[in-house]
């Protein structure tokens, strides 16, 4: 009799979907490419250099960490370090020196991810932690200068870093003062003028106060103008490298939805909250803000599609995802309106990341057929 056949023993299910971790990570990387193209178009080839340096540093740090910890180095190919590298570079001003993303990526991977046990074990988003580290360590480099987009238009739609077209800038008194500022910087300046006006009024200079208030209002009017919003939509404005072209970011988002990688609850609840609160208190007073401006400016679309929906650091339950988006949106808008920074996207996500385990536990879905006791 022939030798008995040998069969492999394993737990069911014996088949598995082809949507694996690596495919998810590389899909996310692919979805970031349109925004990268926009960054190169608006800020020049230097944008590509920064992203490549960041990705290389992330992958190398991942490799060295795994080697050092004697873990399988095959993890380095899972694509997650590539995504972290791209996202970190996307969160930097386009004019920073090349070593900055290298330092940031290394920190993101070594401290933000591998120190916690590697993929799946990190508590906060590594790229955002890397950015927070750079903000704390090199604040001048991170906020000093914003690069204006390359002027290819020659018509009146060209804008400086603030996105307000030249033709509309005429209506803003003291336009020179806002040169080099991002749209959210300008909004913050208008808030400062408003509160300054209050102080001036107390000193008895009513005319001066009125002038300041008028100026603040005209700045906001210019920001909310159709020409500005259009510039924000296509990315003709200053800002972090990958956050400016909203159209391209949404293109990536649509790709991720088609590939069944992006779960829509997180981005929708986050962007929805930003829009709602942008209207409620995102202007100078109450219920006079412009929701569209708040969604299109700053980094909330990059954050909403690629970082609020980062799988590892956000809740797994349907209700938890909505709560996460609400919380991050609320913190973002509080920082934008009253905080020390013009933009609050990345800190809001980092803070909410910390609440993820608690949210998961408190939002367990109702079991199939479960009814409330005595309900």
């Amino acid at each position: 009799m022939a030798e008995p056949r040998r069969f492999e023993l394993a737990i069911s299910p014996h088949v598995i979907s082809n949507l694996d971790t690596r495919r998810i990570m590389y899909d996310v990387a692919v979805a970031l490419l349109p925004a990268l193209a926009a960054a190169v178009w608006f800020f020049g080839p230097r944008a590509l250099l920064l992203v490549v340096a960041s990705v290389a540093a992330a992958v190398l740090s991942e490799y060295l960490s795994l080697k050092f910890m004697k873990r399988p180095v095959s993890f380095v190919l899972d694509g997650s370090a590539v995504v972290t590298g791209i996202l970190l570079a996307f969160n930097l001003p386009p004019g920073v020196p090349v070593w900055l993303p290298v330092v940031g990526s290394a920190f993101a991977i070594v401290v933000g991810k591998q120190a916690f046990g590697g993929l799946g074990h990190n508590i906060v988003n590594p790229a955002l932690l890397g950015r927070a580290f750079l903000m704390a360590s090199f604040p001048v480099l991170m906020t000093a200068g914003w690069t204006a987009p390359v002027n290819r238009d020659g018509d009146g739609t060209y804008s400086d870093t603030h996105g307000i077209p030249v033709v509309e800038l005429a209506g803003v008194p003291g336009a020179d003062a806002i040169s080099g500022a991002t749209p959210l910087n300008v909004l913050k300046q208008s808030f400062d003028l408003d509160s300054g006006a209050g102080a001036v009024e107390l000193e008895g200079d009513r005319a001066g106060a009125d002038e300041m208030r008028l100026k603040a209002a005209s700045m906001r009017r210019a920001l909310y103008g159709a020409g500005t919003l259009k510039n924000l939509l296509i990315g003709k404005r200053g800002g972090c490298l990958g956050e400016t072209s909203i159209v391209m970011l949404f293109l990536g988002g649509i790709y991720l939805v088609l590939r069944k990688v992006l779960e829509l609850r997180l981005p929708l609840s986050y962007l929805g909250t930003v829009a709602l609160l942008g209207w409620v208190f995102g202007g100078g007073g109450w219920f006079d803000g412009n929701p569209l401006f708040h969604v299109l400016s700053g980094g909330v679309v990059l954050g909403g599609i690629f970082m609020v929906s980062d799988m590892v650091t956000t809740p797994v339950t349907p209700r938890g995802r909505i709560i996460f988006g609400l919380g991050a949106g609320l913190i973002t808008m509080i920082i934008r309106r009253w905080g020390g920074y013009p933009e609050g996207c990345s800190y809001s996500i980092l803070l909410m990341n910390l609440t993820t385990p608690l949210i998961n536990r408190l939002t367990r879905p109702k079991f199939f057929g479960e009814v409330k006791k005595n309900g």
Partner: protein
């Protein structure tokens, strides 16, 4: 045609049913040696009442019922008992079996055939179904007579015949509906009569339009269901067909519904109309690891190896041998194991068909949460189980899990989620849930 119904959650594994769905059922003669398990049904194994050297007649009781959740076992052939001993089983490591050397296959009619079931009382019919050893033929093997005798305080109003067959590869129920719809419908009517329900229907997935058509042409009410795994799980089938949700830890009878597989219905018909005990079933022998996949009408106790041989033998590269479907089936170390009343399929899968990935770390994507048909959080249960936090695993609903495998199928990291959850279930049931 009404719109197809379904449940929330679930997934879509590739069907691979075309390997065998077009192959008519072939009657496979009993092999020289049959190994009749005494534990074909869920519950206590039958107690053997024959011993080595005994002559047995086909249909003769060789194991008697041993408790309420138990059934008698019958000889599927005329022959001589060679041994009564433990033997490798498809659904557990080993179990008691009566090994019979086959002499012939004639006869088997041990009960009086009842041409008109309606002239018999529900009690008589339940007794017949019990004595015939009919158990659930969809997979779990729960004694059919128990489901047909609900406690008097439970009011039943609906009987659903399960022809969903949502497991990939399997086509046994499909072929049965095409080739023997009358027995299924008769069995359904008998069971409806027993339960006193006026509403009875068959639930069939839309990927079997010919079966839906055939059953309808015989006057059977059919609920077409969307193709979605695990549409055939009792709770999901009831939810889809009649919109009622069986509570966690509850049974279909709690919502007034009884579900039986199409194979079970046919076995009930044979027991009542023909006076035949449950001795045979339809088995799909398939997978790219067998040369010529097909559907076979085989007697229980037929070794898997004989069936694979009937299907042309093994192909080049067989990696896994599975009893049942690829989502919930059990992988076997040997093909000596016998077919039982609940063996729906024999799968020989090649390296190209089974998962080949290593387990990676959970990336908390939540795909298992979205897909779980019972609305559990498989990744959380697995995580707590891996940490030995049984109490927390229980809080996350570990005990509700029916091991359908949907979570493991969708997991991008290839986590052995079903394994961890089963581990948690065992620990909780063993009383390890109390943390010191």
């Amino acid at each position: 045609m009404s719109k197809a119904r379904t449940f929330r959650g679930g997934t879509h594994p590739p069907g691979h049913k075309n390997l065998s769905s077009g192959k008519p059922i072939k009657r496979f003669p009993a092999p020289e040696i049959v190994v009749v398990p005494l534990c074909q049904h869920l519950g206590a194994p039958s107690r053997p009442v024959v011993s080595r050297g005994d002559e047995v007649r086909k249909g003769q009781e060789i194991g008697e019922q041993n408790g309420f959740i138990s059934l008698p076992t019958h000889a599927p052939v005329n022959g001589t008992v060679k041994a009564v001993e433990d033997y490798p089983m498809p659904h557990r490591r080993t179990g008691p079996a009566v090994i019979i050397e086959t002499v012939s296959e004639e006869g088997g009619r041990v009960f009086e055939p009842w041409e008109d079931y309606s002239s018999h009382s529900p009690e008589e019919l339940v007794e017949r179904i019990r004595l015939a050893g009919v158990c659930g033929m969809g997979g779990a093997g729960f004694p059919a007579y128990v489901k047909l005798s609900p406690p008097p305080d439970k009011k039943m109003d609906t009987l659903i015949i399960n022809g969903v067959e949502c497991e990939p590869y399997l086509t046994a129920d499909h072929r049965l509906m095409l080739e023997n719809p009358d027995d299924i419908i008769l069995g359904m009517k008998i069971m409806a009569h027993v339960l006193g329900v006026s509403e009875y229907m068959a639930g069939i997935e839309e990927n079997k339009p010919d079966a839906i058509e055939t059953m309808r042409s015989r006057g059977c009410k059919v609920v077409p269901l969307k193709v979605r795994y695990p549409q055939g799980a009792e709770k999901q089938l009831i939810d889809a067909a009649v919109g009622r949700k069986v509570p966690p830890g509850g049974l279909p009878m709690d919502v007034g519904v009884v579900v039986h597989n199409v194979g079970t219905a046919a076995a009930v018909a044979a027991a009542v109309r023909d006076g035949m005990p449950s001795l045979r079933r339809i088995v799909t022998v398939t997978g790219r690891g067998v040369v010529s996949p097909g559907n076979y009408d085989v007697c229980v106790g037929t070794p898997f190896s004989a069936l694979v041989e009937a299907a042309g033998g093994y192909g080049e590269d067989v990696r896994r041998l599975i009893s049942g479907g690829p989502m919930m089936g059990v992988s076997l170390f040997t093909d000596k194991v016998p077919v039982t009343k609940s063996t729906s399929g024999v799968l020989a899968l090649t390296s190209g068909e089974v998962r080949s990935s290593e387990e990676g770390p959970c990336i908390r994507c939540g795909k298992c949460v979205d897909a779980c048909p019972l609305k559990l959080t498989p990744n959380m249960i697995a995580m707590t189980a891996a940490a030995g936090r049984w109490e927390m695993a229980k809080e996350f609903g570990a005990l509700n899990c029916m091991a359908c495998g949907t979570c493991g199928y969708v997991c991008p990291a290839g986590r052995y989620l079903v394994h961890y959850i089963k581990k948690a279930q065992n620990a909780i049931r063993a009383g390890m849930g109390k943390e010191a």
